[in-house]
Amino acid sequence: MSDRERDVLREVAELAANMGPALTPAAHLELLKSITTAAMSLFGAAACSLALLHEDQEELEFYVASGAGAEEVVGMRVPLGQGLAGYVVSSGQPIAIEDVTRDPRFAAAFAAGTGYVPKSILAMPLETDREMLGVIEVLDRRTRGAGLEGSGEMEMLSLFANLAALAIENSRVFADLGRTLFEAAGAAAATADLTEALEQVARSAPAPSAELAELAALFNRLALVGPEERRLATRIVTEVVSFVSSGRWQR
């Protein structure tokens, strides 16, 4: 492969990296929130939350929650090495515990973080056949004794877990589109040379720039508002672009 061809690939990777955030499926958070709300409603539960594995693989961060204590719990981080959520993510096994307050370490740790201390927890890993993403938890469900005990409840929650895992994986692809595209192309390439070249581009592909990602996120939110508001936003952006390109604006 020539240097020129490598340059082109690198430019494509950069372009893809910067475009990725703009292509992230609109309403990603809303979708996850609708999953926790639906699960909460179906289980007649007090709350339902999603915690995702942090990049350092050492902590879980509560990402979306519905119901009691939802506002307090979102953003909370817990170490992977303790607690039920940590166990579920580490072992890959779902678990249900009744009266968690009998676990001496649990009650204190949970109560310190949120205003809501549950009595029962049903927790299920969020994973695909590629990676472990986190955990979905249902707090104080009322389905116990309603003919869904034990594995029936777990099977039902696993359907929600699967939905959430796919939604999360889907949005992550866009968050790092440059790398993802070239890794996929590398894996599919017909010759070892081409694979190596594409993988090299994937390794050196830049992450999307923070400013562009922020701007893209704003455009995503605009997709959710009405046509009037979108027209207003378009006019404002057009004015800004024309102002900064006219030379009248100096930093």
Binding site: L53, D56, Q57, E58, P79, L80, G81, Q82, G83, L84, G86, Y87, V89, S90, S91, G92, Q93, P94, I95, A96, I97, E98, D99, V100, R102, D103, P104, R105, M124, P125, E127, T128, D129, R130, E131, M132, E149, G150, S151, M154, E155, S158, A161, N162
Partner: protein
């Protein structure tokens, strides 16, 4: 002229083949024959999990153990990046203690080993699980309880090889299957005793599933289990069903040492609640 023999046939030449114990099974096989009077004595059992709280009243002590962690930058790391710390350790979550206590209830005189593979980081999880299994095989464990799994396809071949190795060393791997629709390793391999929870509470009653991959059903729903700091909690999970089968296997093995995994499965299938002689 020297006789040409196909590969692997040499060990079957007259005078070279080892003798094996004929399995003198009664008909029908009974629980009394299988484990009547057995206590688990002489059987080494490893619980590959979050550690075991040795002082918990329901555990009855731990013979020995090891913590396995993935830490490739450590000077003590082996070629796979694993650091092994032998000796006593705590249970991080309570789950390993629960499994150990369930096994002890069935087989109080077993020799118990804790292999802690769950830890503070998820990095290298599959490699650490694999190292736990290799530790159990290398250290002469007879029964291994594995209430954990991975869905990551990358580990398909790694676990397949280790499970075959365990099978050929007569190590009984008892593995909880998870509830997630995607495959989970190593619980779906034919070489393990895969277990899911059934509704029953009797620790010595189990089912054999004629439609695997999950082969056995055992108690795992709304159980009172041992937990950390000497506590007990009510819990549900396939991960509590596996140690019930591990306990029964330990009991049987203490009365009939030297059984192979396929002989053990024959006995379990014959003693399952849903096994009938009139079919």
């Amino acid at each position: 002229m020297a006789e040409i023999r196909p590969a692997w046939s040499e060990q079957f030449e007259p005078g070279k083949l080892g003798r094996v114990a004929a399995l003198g099974l009664p008909a029908p096989i009974s629980k009394e024959w299988a484990w009547g009077g057995a206590t688990g004595a002489g059987v080494k059992v490893a619980v590959i999990d979050s550690g075991i709280e040795a002082s918990h009243p329901a555990v009855g002590g731990v013979s020995d153990g090891v913590i396995l962690e993935y830490s490739p930058d450590s000077p003590d790391a082996d070629e796979d990046g694993i650091v092994a710390t032998p000796g006593p350790h705590d249970d991080l979550y309570g789950h390993g203690t629960a499994c150990a206590a369930i096994i002890r209830a069935a087989a109080p005189d077993r020799e118990l080993y804790s292999v802690r593979v769950l830890g503070a980081r998820l990095t290298g999880k599959g490699i650490v699980f694999a190292a736990g299994l290799q530790w159990a095989i290398a250290n002469g464990m007879n029964v291994v309880n594995l209430s954990l799994s991975t869905s990551k396809q990358d580990y398909f071949a790694v676990f397949h090889e280790i499970v075959d190795d365990a099978y050929f060393h007569n190590v009984m791997l008892v593995s909880a299957i998870n509830n997630v629709p995607s495959p989970s390793y190593p619980s779906q391999y034919a070489g393990v005793f895969s277990v899911a929870a059934h509704d029953g509470k009797d620790p010595f009653s189990f089912d054999y599933n004629p439609s695997p991959p999950v082969e056995f059903g055992a108690p795992g729903i709304d159980l009172e289990v041992a937990w950390q700091q000497g506590s007990f909690i009510e819990a549900t999970g396939n991960s509590f069903a596996a140690p019930h089968i591990a306990g029964v296997v330990t009991k049987i093995l203490s009365k009939h040492p030297g059984l192979t995994p396929f002989q053990m499965k024959t006995i379990l299938a014959a003693l399952a609640d849903n096994a009938h002689t009139d079919i």
